[in-house]
């Protein structure tokens, strides 16, 4: 089956905004042309494989600062970036899992099931994400004056 790129874009935007709003109570919006699209030197990179119906990968990249505020919002306590790295990655993994489900539910007809793999997160230096996976599509979002990049590869 084929999925149109425009459908992915629309559904991706809806899925990421729904997920962050429901889980972290954060308003996430697609960036405008005026928003600066500059990635930090290092950031969290989270991805989840999709096995069915189309082998693909999706996820997001965000700064430590925004990962910290998301984790604090969800876990309801202060977070230290270094000491709580495992907890932050667990939060980001769960967000990617929910986002993937929200995206595929929108893209696929009800009678077609999909299969997700296990999510993974890591801390990367700029450009390192391309070592084993270069995103095909990247969507730039903004929340609280900061950026989140949604990524997809089919």
């Amino acid at each position: 089956m084929s999925i149109e790129l425009q459908d992915i874009r629309t559904s991706f935007i809806e899925a990421i905004t729904e997920t962050f709003e429901n889980m972290a109570f954060m308003e996430v919006m697609l960036a405008t042309e005026e928003d600066e699209d500059v990635k930090p030197e290092a950031m969290f990179f989270t991805r989840i494989p999709v096995y069915k119906p189309i082998q693909s990968m999706l996820g997001f990249m965000l700064s430590a600062e925004i990962a910290k505020s998301i984790s604090q919002s969800i876990l309801g306590r202060d977070i230290d970036i270094e000491e709580d790295e495992f907890e932050i990655m667990d939060v980001l993994n769960e967000l990617s899992n929910i986002m993937a489900g929200a995206l595929l539910t929108r893209l696929l007809p009800d009678e077609e099931s999909f299969e997700l793999g296990l999510p993974e997160s890591r801390w990367i230096a700029q450009g390192e994400a391309g070592c084993d996976w270069t995103p095909e599509q990247e969507y730039h979002f903004r929340t609280d004056g900061q950026s989140i990049w949604g990524i997809w590869k089919s």
């Binding site: 969800i74 929910i98 489900g101 595929l104």
Partner: protein, 127 residues
């Protein structure tokens, strides 16, 4: 009331538990498992009133857990709710056929879980 929550994500387990507490089960005894195998071990230890499980877990996934739970004479009649991000209609029907009582799509919230459990348990919440 004893509730077992199975999910490989500690964040998800915490979130589900918080939803249950807000939804009206703050006094329940909660036991948590990171996969289906751990959940089965917990289910063997005493009487459990409700199992909430994720689908996509390492070691033993939620589908296998539901299959084993519904095939076990000891666990017969125990309500099973699957909470998953892969909760479209096709997957829901498959899990219901396997024996799950309900399938909820993530993200959940206290209202969603309360409505589901009131229907399954046939009672109002504890508080």
């Amino acid at each position: 009331m004893r509730i077992v929550i199975a999910d490989d994500s500690t964040t998800a387990r915490m979130f589900i538990r918080q939803c249950l507490e807000i939804a009206g089960w703050p006094e329940a005894e909660y036991a948590e498992a990171a996969n289906g195998r751990e959940a089965l071990q917990l289910l063997k230890q005493g009487t459990t009133d409700l199992l909430l499980t994720d689908l996509n877990m390492p070691t033993m996934d939620g589908r296998e857990l539901v299959r084993r739970v519904t095939a076990s004479p000891k666990l017969i009649g125990m309500p099973v709710v699957v909470i998953t991000s892969s909760g479209n209609e096709a997957r829901k029907q498959e899990l219901i056929r396997l024996g799950a009582n309900a399938v909820l799509r993530k993200p959940i919230n206290p209202m969603k879980i309360a409505e589901c459990l009131e229907g399954i348990l046939g009672v109002e919440e504890e508080t």
